[in-house]
């Protein structure tokens, strides 16, 4: 049985090669060539696409993508950790309901929710109407970086809270009681016991927020008003507007490599703590 059952995976092995490995190799191939994609014989090997990335303009975009993603990730952690902590202390009876209503927004369409922020933040949107009605000066958040960061925090906050909550809810209560018995107060218990135990949750939360944040092009497009270009926007433009697949592919490969490096660093931090590296929710 053991030997026969593995044949069940063979069709998927073929599928993986066709739809996962080959497409990525194609992107790598296009990133290393120049010429007309419609005419394969015109393609020549070149590193120019990668050289172009090192233009100051593009480097700035990449830097900004990382900066905004890091800021949003930190904000999500600061805002989200207490949420996870609070939800984990709620009485079992109400916990499900609170948790459920925390999850409802992610079940609504991501684009719709981001679009809704446009109605709230735009120059004649909800917030500014409220402010001018109260006789206060209006804000010009959107379009701009603040709006993009806000949109990222809004969309990715649940992905920070869920893994932390999952780890918190699995902590053995007797460990906390032991800490209390040994004379630790609530603050000490938190810093010395709870916080270290939730590191794996924090790490997977960070990766789950950082990765979509650094590669998004929708949030920056809608809330940045097309002015706040991120690497995701650059890639999208190369494929849909500029039709420069070679440069777009080079940018994608660079994005991939940078994310892989960040995740390798992250999993190294986590390794010190024991557990494996899979997302935990």
């Amino acid at each position: 049985m053991k030997n026969k059952a593995r044949f069940l995976a063979y069709p998927y092995m073929v599928w993986m090669v066709i739809f996962i490995v080959v497409p990525l190799l194609l992107v790598l191939f296009y990133s290393l060539t120049e010429g007309n994609i419609k005419d394969p014989s015109s393609l020549t090997f070149s590193l120019n696409n990668y050289k172009r990335v090192f233009d100051v303009m593009y480097l700035n975009v990449i830097w900004k993508s990382f900066k905004l993603a890091i800021i949003s990730t930190i904000c999500c952690l600061i805002l989200g950790y207490p949420v996870a902590l609070i939800i984990s202390t709620i009485k079992a009876k109400y916990k499900n309901i609170v948790l459920m209503f925390f999850l409802v927004p992610i079940w609504m369409n991501f684009l719709l929710r981001t679009y809704a922020w446009m109605s709230i933040l735009s120059p004649n949107g909800f917030i500014n109407r409220l402010l001018s009605w109260m006789g206060l000066p209006t804000l010009s958040i959107m379009p701009g970086q603040t709006a993009v960061i806000l949109g990222m925090i809004y969309n990715f906050l649940p992905f920070m809270v869920l893994p932390i909550y999952t780890v918190l809810s699995k902590i053995d209560k007797s460990v906390l009681e032991a800490a209390m018995d040994l004379g630790a107060n609530k603050l000490v218990t938190f810093v010395k016991v709870i916080l270290p135990l939730t590191v794996p949750g924090i790490i997977s939360g960070i990766t789950m927020v950082f990765m979509p944040a650094v590669s998004t092009f929708v949030i920056s497009q809608l809330l940045g008003g097309g002015k706040e270009l991120l690497i995701g926007n650059l890639i999208e433009q190369q494929f849909t507007v500029q039709r420069d697949w070679h440069f777009g592919s080079a940018l994608s490969i660079i994005l991939m490599i940078m994310i892989l490096i960040s995740m390798a660093i992250m999993s190294k931090v986590e390794k010190d703590d024991g557990n494996g590296g899979a997302p935990r929710w």
Binding site: I20, I120, L222
Partner: protein, 259 residues
């Protein structure tokens, strides 16, 4: 005091989470078409919603693709997970690592990579390419949720079944599948949710005439979204809340809500 602070903080977070949804709901009853102006209460956008062919078509494709791709990926994913589970150490590691790629890769890279593949082999972008792409990114999640259940399963069970005269396929149907069912259901649910909410991968892998809800909203957002979309949001919220309340009533353990 601490209790008050906790409640206050949680309330603030909930206001933040629901503010945009509340705004859309309020606007869905707004007589005026303009977003910033209240022209009185109306139900007309709800009536318009059901007459809007673009929205109905987008909804149709959203659900069709989500349904088909989650069924296909659950079937392929479950069998593949059983297969991978029974592979040698090296093959298992290799398969799982490649399987991880679509999970680890940013959506946009998966999207353009698949688009590149389809265009390179001269496949016309449209319904089929979108369905394949959704299946490609769904299968890994199904495998990832089935694998832990396979690991938990007692190995002797299958052997006992075989010793008692069950054929391998009978053992698969009557012993293995029932035991890993919770993982399979979680996988199917994740697949369905991911598919229904997807924008980036669909955006790159679909062609003219085939749009899902996300693509429709994206293309509308620049020119101004039709108010009937707000009506749709309200109905969606209502459906999700009712469904979740029903599920919540049936399950006693809340942790199951999280896949």
């Amino acid at each position: 005091m601490v209790k008050f602070l906790k409640r206050f903080y949680l309330t603030l977070i909930f206001i933040f989470l629901y503010a945009p949804i509340a705004v859309l709901i309020v606007y869905s009853f707004n007589e005026s078409k303009s977003r910033g102006y209240w022209g009185g209460f109306t139900f007309k956008w709800y009536a318009e919603l059901f007459r809007d062919r673009d929205i109905i078509k987008a909804l149709y494709y959203t659900f069709l693709v989500a349904l088909l791709s989650s069924i296909i990926s659950t079937v392929i994913g479950t069998f593949s997970a059983i297969g991978i589970h029974n592979m040698g150490l090296f093959g298992k590691k290799l398969a799982l690592n490649i399987n991880y790629l679509p999970v680890l890769n940013p959506d946009i890279v998966t999207g353009i990579a698949l688009m590149t593949l389809f265009i390179s082999v001269n496949m016309r972008l449209g319904f089929l390419t979108m369905l394949i792409s959704h299946t490609v990114f769904n299968i890994p999640y199904v495998i990832l949720s089935v694998m832990p259940k396979l690991k938990q399963m007692d190995k002797n069970m299958t052997e006992a079944a075989l010793d008692l005269g069950a054929t391998p396929s009978y053992a698969l149907r009557k012993v293995i599948i029932p035991q890993i069912m919770p993982g399979v259901i979680t996988g199917a649910l994740i697949a369905f949710t991911l598919s229904i909410d997807d924008f980036v991968i669909s955006f790159f892998t679909t062609g003219s005439g085939v749009t899902n809800l996300s693509i429709l909203v994206y293309s509308m957002a620049k020119r101004g979204v039709k108010p009937s979309i707000n009506a749709l949001t309200t109905l969606m919220l209502l459906t999700v809340v009712i469904l979740l309340l029903l599920i919540n009533k049936r399950t006693t353990k809340g942790d199951e809500l999280i896949p």
